[in-house]
Symmetry: C2
Subunit: 349 residues, 2 copies
């Protein structure tokens, strides 16, 4: 996927919004427009009835691709949900068929590659449509040369205490805040949702393990001399029993100058690995900095915490202050409040 669509429909049947991370990410952050969300559970409502969205970013919810086609010109269908395991739900087949028959491209981040589905491949061929399986790494990836630090841009990486703590969101909020200040900021995606939002990128969790750092470096080298700052989406956590390899490869492949530590307020153990306790923030700061150091020194300069589980703003501020004091920098919740403090901290680094 190296071409951005202009106006899309997003498939999110039955899981929208809370289990439709890709759909909500695209609604919030994509540069292209969302004409409709396909969710057969909620037809006739609007996306903003179910989740808070930035001004001007909303879409009607329709029952099917056929209905979406009546919402005006659309050039792609985005598969905006991923069941556990990343399989394809056969109940979606009719919508994907209808999109391809109408000549729309289909963009998917599933582990099941739609372009390798004989029926979809034939339909795409017949109707001049392209299927973009964004989770399929391109075939020319290779090992890192240790060169990411040579680019002109400052590199800012989000890292986490765990998976699903807002690393992509924080990177995107920082990118937006920087652009609002007139800074030429680039977003470097590393996962399927980020890739769909940005319209390009390497799915780092799916590359050959030896190429983990190399696949990140490739993106930094591609973007790093035409932007002033790059915000790189991190993955996993350096103490995650399953995904730390990906985290480590991104850290060394991206060679960040500044690092933002992301967390979800109240989480005390690695999600799904309840016997692995989440260490205190200071331990993460030391781990990330000590590990980065021998390859390229990078400093954890701020914290970003998802405080949605905390009712009052005052209590949220208290939790953020506590987190920040352990990180040794400002900490905020860029969704609840804004990203200005974070941006100041990374630009000062």
């Amino acid at each position: 996927m190296n071409a951005q669509p202009t106006r899309v429909a997003v498939l999110a049947h039955d899981l929208f919004p809370h289990r439709a991370k890709t759909a909500t990410g695209v609604l919030r952050y994509a540069d292209y427009d969302v004409a409709a969300v396909l969710d057969r559970s909620n037809p006739g409502t609007r996306a903003s009835d179910h989740l808070s969205l930035p001004d001007g970013r909303d879409a009607p919810i329709v029952e099917s691709m056929a209905d979406a086609l009546s919402e005006g010109e659309i050039d792609a269908l985005v598969v905006g949900i991923a069941p556990i395991g990343g399989g394809f739900d056969e109940s979606w087949r009719g919508d994907v068929e209808r999109a391809l028959e109408a000549g729309l491209d289909v963009i998917s981040g599933l582990h099941y590659f739609l372009a390798e589905d004989d029926e979809f491949a034939a339909l795409a061929e017949a109707h001049g449509a392209t299927i973009h399986d964004v989770r399929k790494p391109h075939p020319d990836l290779t090992v890192s040369e240790g060169r990411a630090s040579e680019v002109d841009a400052d590199v800012v990486l989000t890292v986490g205490t765990d998976c699903s703590v807002g690393k992509m969101t924080v990177s995107l909020e920082l990118t937006r805040a920087a652009r609002e200040r007139g800074i030429d900021a680039g977003f470097v995606p590393t996962g399927q949702t980020g890739i769909m939002i940005a319209g390009w990128g390497n799915p780092i969790d799916r590359v050959v393990s030896d190429f983990t750092a190399g696949a990140v470096e490739e993106m930094i080298l591609e973007m790093g001399d035409t932007h002033d700052v790059l915000f790189v989406e991190g993955q996993g956590s350096i103490v995650h029993p399953a995904y730390s390899a990906v985290t480590c490869g991104i850290l060394h492949g991206a060679m960040p100058d500044a690092i933002v530590l992301c967390h979800v307020a109240g989480r005390e153990a690695i999600h799904g690995y309840e016997s692995t306790a989440i260490p205190d923030p200071g331990t993460y700061v030391d781990l990330y900095e000590d590990l980065a150091g021998p390859v390229h020194p990078g400093e954890v300069v701020a914290g970003a915490v998802n405080t949605s589980s905390i009712d009052s703003d005052a209590a949220a501020r208290e939790a953020l202050d506590a987190f920040g004091s352990q990180v040794g920098g400002p900490a905020t919740d860029p969704i609840r409040f804004d990203a200005d403090e974070l941006l100041d901290a990374v630009l000062d680094a």
Copy 2:
């Protein structure tokens, strides 16, 4: 590859012995016999004319597969060299053809998969031979469940200051020394040479990055309840600009109880990444222990140093003592001296 051969020929044309890591590893450590080494540069000599080998482990060097077949019963050809990039050298084709025509299995760790070569596949089919591409991960790998620490065996991992510092060799020497003491020790391979020696294993550097820890865990769970101690072959280095992801995934997937830090005397920068200096041994000890801790505490208990560049035994001992004092445990060169001190240290852990 889940079946061990009994007696093999090893292809090592032109690169034997010093650039034929797989061939020398198989000669030194494999449980099966080596009937002949194919090296058209040195026919008529013996392997022991070119490198030191343990007693009773030697083989004649012959020019071709045809000559090897006159060395008695052979059931497999092992490709014992890997050019940079892991490609297949077409000058080897005749030998592989001859082996398959004789019904021999072919075992290869190249990135170029011989079983996907139409001609080799047809020959194997016609002659009842099997091609084992040991660098091809099996299709059922998945993410780690964080369960390696549940096995009965103690788990000992070798880690490195860099690539090619003897991690496989040290793991194999420890396995041998333990078995000599009557301990039921298992070797857990993670790279192509280790897999060829052991006759099984997952090639960790070639798995999907998300499955790095999971592919190690799978092996620990498979072996861990039928052995008293497992010696896991490490890969790369935690500060390697390209390969640290694999190192980190092995550390968290294996959940070692004891760790042995391997090094080559005199090396001061990461090989091929000369701007990345090798930190002092104490920094590695802290990095590996701090990173292991939140998932499963493991202690660096000893050091193993390749001292082959140091002339006198006395000077080697001096270098080892200095390394050991920085590691906080005994350090030795198990090839130059023996592995007893290392074994004592890991068994005491």
